[in-house]
Each structure stands twice: as C-alpha cells, then as structure tokens.
Amino acid sequence: MEDALTLILAGISVGSVYALIAIGLNLTYWTTRTMNFGQGSVMMLGAMMTAVLVAGGVIDALAALASLVVIAAIMVFTEVFTVRPALKIGGSMGWAVSTLGVGIILQGVAAKYFGSQAVAFPDMVFSAQDYVEVFGVRFALQYLAILVLSVALVALLELLLRRTVWGRAMRAVSMDADLAAVAGIPVRPIVLGSYIASGLLAGIAGMLIAQTGGTVDPAFGFDLMIFGFVAAVLGGIGSSSGALLGGLVLGVIEKLVGGYVSTAAAHGIAFALLVVVLVARPQGLFGQREVVKV
C-alpha cells in the first residue's frame, strides 16, 4: 500500500513534467501546425548545460538561466531557419526532416562538447533524500517541489493565454493565421514567441526530469519528447488542461507499471496507450471533437 502511494505520487510528479513538455509541443503546434521533433534535444541541452555549468562552479540559478537563454536562441533559430522555410511549401513534410535534423545536430554537439557519458545533475532545491511524512507514508520533497512548480507553470501559462492581449493574439493566430493578420495581429512575433515559450517549458521540464533521475546524457531527451506527445494526445492536442490531465495519467501509469512489472514495459505501455487512444478517441480523452467545416 505504501509502495503504491509512493509510486502514484512519483507518477503525478513526473506526469506534471510530461504535461509541461506536452504544452510546449502544443504551443508550437497551434501556431504553425508542425511538430517540433527537435524538442527532445532542446530538453537534453537545457539539462546538460546546467549540469556542466554547475560542475564548473557557476551558481545553480545562474546556470539554469544561462541554459534557458541558449535554448530560447535555439528555438528562434529553429523557427526562422527550419520551420518557416519548410512551411512555404504545403505538404512537403520538410519541417519534419529539418526539425529532426536540428535535434540530431544538438545531440551531436552535446556529445562532442559535454561527452557522451551521463553527467550527474546537481541537487537544486531538495536532495533526493529529503522527504516529508504524511500518514506514515514518505513523500520525497523533490517530487512535491516539481509538482508544485509544474502546476504553477501550467496555471500561469493558461492565465497568460486567456487573460492577456498577447495570449489572446496567440490563440487568434492558432485558429486562423491569415484572419489574425488581417485583423492587425503581428503574426510573426507571435509565432516566434510561441517557439520561445515552448523552448523555455521544454528546458525547465528537462531540468526537472534530470533532477529526479540524477543524471543526464545526450540521448536523454528523445523518449521524454515522445512521452510529451503521448500526454498531448491523451489530453487532446487542443487544450492545456487536457495536456495536464494527460500528463498525470501517463505519469501514474508509467510509474505503476514500472514499479510492479518492469521499467521496460512502462515504455511499451505508453506507446500502446498512444495508439489505442488515437484510434478510439482521436480528439483525446478530454478533448472535444473538432468540427470540420466543409
């Protein structure tokens, strides 16, 4: 019983990070209708840069901040040089190649400069040993901190999207970019902004996951990105709250299967879940069916 509770809490915590990844993927999907396959490497780079900087003697917060700045720059590069030109030709799938390419390059660069071995990720707020006891069950403080931070970020983002001018403009662009442009909304900065926001979410998510795992290596991001896709699909690609729920469901299932069956099975289950949900409810477990106008 105690085991199950611990696993579920760990699942919720990790799931909230999957939600961050999913929302990051959603943001760029909404504005450009593409999937950024480089997202996984961006996550890896954020975590790895932070780890290497901290190991080099830089203060934790400063290292994290510096990594996020680099990530933002990479996302701008991704949008300007790999997504925008590819979108000029409808249906060419060029964006899939070019974003994947950015991912492969980043992975290669990280392997070259930071080494292809796993790097230890520093304990940033709590160490893995800190815990609180509730009803006799130990909850790792690390997991609680991650959960609180992720949920706060999701809430903040939702607030920005719904309550601010920029958020409304972004939603307008995601519904119909041409119409938004006609209405005087600066589409280009909005799209760029969505890429930067997506990168920041990915970077933070990468650091949080690296924190729970303790290490990070160049191949670290790819599976995480897929989990982000699964969470996004589970919740329905349209909504942030859906992504949050999808992430939590995925995280809990992953941890339970990982704890009681095997960690290898946990990955398989995630992919099986993805295909099953797509087949049974393409609009996601919590999403609404998209009405197609003819």
Binding site: R33, M93, V97, L100, G101, I104, I105, F271, V275, L278
Partner: protein, 288 residues
C-alpha cells in the same frame, strides 16, 4: 571492389525504401514516419527464419514481406481513420513501441541484435551477385510504382491526396486505396529488410529508429516528393555523401554530428533553392 558492391547494395536498398515511402507520403499523402519499422519487420523475420529453420532464403525474404504487409494492414485499418498530423504521431508510437519490444525480447537478440545470419551465397562473386539481385528488385519496385501511379489508380490516389472529399464524392473508396498503397509500400520496405539482413548479416534495433525515419524522409524530400525519379536521386545522394565523408577519415566523434548537419543543411538549402526537390516540378508539390 567488395566495398563498391556493398555501397551499391545500400543504394539499391535505399532506393526501394525511398521509392516505396514516396508512394505512401508523396503520392498518397499519408503522413506516417514509421517506414523503418516495416524495414525492420522484413529484416528480422527473414533473419530469424534463416537462423532458426532450413527454409530457402527466398522463402524467408518472402515471409518477411508477408509479415510487413500484415503489420502494415493492421496499422492501417486502425489508424488510417486518423488524419494528417495525428497519423504521424500514431505511426511514431507504433514504430517506437515495436522497437521497444525488439529491444527487450530475447529471441530478437535484444539491443545487441542478430549477427549469426547464415551465409547464402559464397565465393568471390558474392557481392556482385547480391548487387545484381538487389538492382533487379529495385528496378521492379520502382517500375511497379511508376506503372501504378501513371495509370487510373495513380490519378485516383493523387486526387485523394489533393482533396479527399472530392475524391470520395466521385465514388472512390478512400479507405481501400489507402490500405492498398500502404500495404504495397510497407511490403516493399519488408523486401528491402530481407535483402539487408541477408547481405550484411547483421541487424540491430538501432538501425531502425527514428534517425532512420529521418534518413528516408530526407531522401524523399530532397529528391522531390511525389515524383518518380526523386526518391532514386535522393537515395543515391544521401548514401554516396556519407560514404565520401568516411573517406576523409575524420574522428568518429565528428561523424555523427556531421551527418546531422549535412542532412539538415541540405534540406534547408533545398527548401530555399529547390523547394520541390532535385527533380520535382512546381506542380508536383502538394497543396493541402
């Protein structure tokens, strides 16, 4: 000379892969990136049968094609109702899920793969004989696709890609067409897998991961998506280029990133300079 033969084999195998993938995404407009998994199914089935039984190699390769076709129809029936981008994610999930299985089963050799695939043809002419077989098969696959796409079926498929609703309204069963092109394309990938397994005698899961998806997709996009010759040109360029790089004898740590850079830079350059690929014409591009 053996080296040339093996490079030729790779080109032939990739021509089969790229041409069949082009049939699916270029002509059919079905956005899947799971092509390598059917390549893998063909390779693993042929290899496992070759190792475990005394069946002739032709039968093993045919069985590989069969398994790839069955798997592709299973995937198609369940996921082709999903459109566009969702299909992309579903196919990715299918590919990674199956690879996960291959990685964890004992009989597939796990992450180490299979390295004891029996020798079928021996002697000094082995490489060239294989190359001949591979070339003939590649020509047959490309010819079949060209033939089918030049005829009425091809026109219907392109109509479906450009406007599903209009095509359905004219009385075409979209579902049947999608399954036919998907099954054919994936069967060809299975054939490529069988050839690969028997010639190189070593397969491992990492040869069929998403990087492989990117490679095949790059070949198609670079050569010209939705054209007959595009995938051939793309396959040739993208196999020949890395081979040329290995001649430069760079340190191994550089080769990985360099390949990524070459793929990406080539694709980006092409998007700017020749958006419809090396051999593509303007109207060959798909308007969604």
């Amino acid at each position: 000379m053996e080296y040339l033969a093996s490079a030729g084999m790779l080109i032939g195998i990739y021509i089969i892969l790229a041409a069949s993938y082009n049939l699916i995404i270029g002509y059919g407009g079905l956005n899947t990136i799971a092509h390598p998994i059917f390549f893998a199914l063909g390779a693993y089935t042929a290899a496992l049968l070759g190792i475990g039984t005394t069946l002739p190699s032709v039968v093993c390769v045919l069985a590989g094609i069969g398994v790839a076709v069955v798997a592709s129809v299973a995937l198609a029936v369940t996921t082709l109702r999903i459109e566009g981008d969702y299909l992309l994610i579903a196919s990715l999930g299918f590919q990674l899920g199956l690879l996960q299985l291959v990685n964890n089963f004992e009989f597939t050799g796990g992450p180490a793969g299979l390295s004891n695939i029996p020798v079928t043809i021996t002697g000094p002419g082995r490489g060239w004989l294989y190359l001949l077989i591979c070339a003939v098969l590649a020509v047959v696959v490309v010819w079949l696709i060209w033939r089918a796409m030049a005829g009425p079926f091809g026109r219907a498929v392109r109509a479906m890609r450009d406007d599903e609703l209009a095509c359905a309204a004219l009385g075409r069963s979209l579902f049947t067409m999608k399954i036919v092109i998907f099954a054919f394309g994936c069967g060809a990938a299975g054939l490529a897998g069988g050839l690969y397994a028997y010639y190189f005698q070593y397969i491992s899961p990492e040869q069929f991961n998403v990087a492989q998806s990117a490679t095949i997709l790059t070949m198609v996009v670079l050569g010209g998506i939705g054209t007959t010759w595009g995938p051939l040109v793309g396959a040739f360029v993208l196999v020949a280029l890395p081979q040329a790089i290995t001649f430069m004898q760079l340190p191994t740590s550089l080769v990985g990133p360099l390949q990524g850079i070459i793929f990406t830079v080539l694709v980006i350059l092409f998007l700017f300079l020749r958006p419809y690929g090396l051999v593509g014409k303007r109207e060959a591009g798909v308007a969604h």
